[in-house]
Amino acid sequence: MLKKPLTAVAVASLMTLAACGNSAGSGDSGTGADGVAMGPGVTDDEISVTVISDFSGPIAQGGIAGSLGVEAKIDQVNREQGGICGRKVVVDKRDTKYDPQITTQQYRAAAPKNLMVAQFVGTAGLNAVRANIERDKMPTLSASINTQTLDLPNVYVAMPPFEVELINGLTWAAKEAGASASKKVKVGFVTSADETGKVYLDALNHAAKATEGLEVVAQPTYTNADTDFTAQVNSLKDAGAEIVMLGVTPAQIAGIIGQSAQFGYKPTFVSSSGAWASSLGKPLKGLLDKYYVSGGYGTLNDDNAGIQALTKARKAYAPDAKPDNFEVGGWINGTVVVEALRKACEAKDLTREGVMKAMTGLKVSFDDILPPIDLGDGNSIVSFQSRINKIGADGVQEPVAEFFESEAAKSWDAARRK
């Protein structure tokens, strides 16, 4: 039994060695008939971009929905405008199973064949290939929207990161609870016992300090192996936390909210958008009246031009797909890809450098799915806006307030960049 992981490591390292031999740089494939400089994955008829995501592992539900958003956007552009720069845009999907080792293999296989990464899912996986992305000069849009990936070279986050969602969520909940100098409100944070969890915890603690009337009373952590949350829930309950911020994934939501209810503990729960999956609406039916999602972008239920376009494009592209809010995030990344490629085409430079140049200072409007963003230098948070949603029928998010931004989020960002 012990042999198996060892063999896996051995095989993986062999593959790594093999892959090193043919790792392609950002070498141009020449100039097209139309005078456009062409990078990897670009021909006279096609532009190939890759989606590196979990399609069959633990977060595949979000991974697949997210990819669907990208695909629907690109399909729309291909159908309605004949592609970009006279070329059809092709999506090369790569399954990582949310495993950094497989992610590395998949990235290496995809890199020589694609102009850019239209969507990359998985903070750990992205960290595993950070050096390759830097060397390949690979423009990469991260769907793991946190500052850990934002800080990586050549990696862009086109939405407010989860930290901003959490900070905004906490300031909103504090206001709702009437926290003030004279009225102390107790808060608790649940985060994973790893690097990502620590980043969320730092952000939340900053927000708690920056907001008047909040007292942090419990900060339990969890690991992916946990299926019972008695310990976490009881530490929050015993400390009397009235607001609980959830820096978790959908795998923990049911356990934490469900067991809290069983223990007769009903605080206000607020999570980031990455923690909710609509399929959880069923098992948690009747227990979600005090659960809120702080989202950096809109939801499928919104009535605006952007969501209407997305819904129409998805129905045309994949009529049988079940609606899931992660596809909105994918649509946003897809929109950024399309805008960047257009701008690069105008500059007659469909190389990776050309795309990156186009991304610098790129302004994108999403037709009200979220307020317009400016990608800026690629290393700054593009927006501090988020919106609070509750869970409606079928587990779909419904907004309870308009987009807003908090001072705490900005001061946290300033402190973080120092």
């Binding site: 595949a60 539900q61 310990a231 049911a254 909210i257 399929s279």
Partner: protein, 293 residues
Amino acid sequence: MTLFLQLGFQGIALGLVYGLIALGFVIMFKGSHTFNFAHGQFVAIGAYVVLVLLPRMPYVLAFIGAVAITVGLALVVERLLIRGLIGRSVTVVVLATLGISTMLHNAVLMVWGVGSHDSVGPVGAGTTKVGSVVLPNSALATVAVSVVVLAAVAWFFQRTRHGLALRATASSQEAALAQGIDVGRMFALSWALAAFLAVTASIFLASFPRVVSPSIGDLALIAIPAIVIGGMDSLMGAVVGGLVVGLTQVLGSNYLSDIGGGRLHEVLPYVLMLLVLLVRPYGLFGSRSIERV
């Protein structure tokens, strides 16, 4: 104290579920000398079949239906894919079961998709209070049913002729044959029994607030440290091993949360497994003669 009892109870409930799964592993190992890595997928398939049947019929029928389908699947896998490998090296058989596991996992993804679904436990989200300790009904049902099932399995092995025949086959196939026991049918019986235990475990592994999702199959693999701790060929050891792992996870998530960045309880079952391997390679309850796998 309340918290300790609370955690202890949840740990026992979870541990008994692991014990049911581990018991299945051990029964197959004893009955057909196969360490079946695909067992976790039987657990997953059991949960999905209950999920599909539940809206159409009463709970008991859905459960029986899931047992019938999962047992049928286990018998087909055993007869078509495993039986022919009997007598081949352990590595060949283990690789075959790994392959079957991947196949079944992908079949689950194809049929039911990657997302999570509802819970399928026999009781809902309610709780029962005993003093200051809150006992979730799902955990109570887990404990009650597991104890009954484990007792029935013990009775089966100790007091029925088919149980005796299965023990005889595990002890010596040649001697069992000489008693007129159809050893092939015993292989099948051991797989059927393991599949029944897998479905029983699955409804509790997906009891409120846990839900049916493709990760159930992987979750079930925590039974591996459980059986190594208990002993690969010990029925008693499987249950004790399961309890050790369940209690370690739940008690550890509280009392060890300040150590190792909150991750110690995640690795502790594997640490215990390695310790047992070093000190008693045949497990706490296993027999010395156990072959190395």
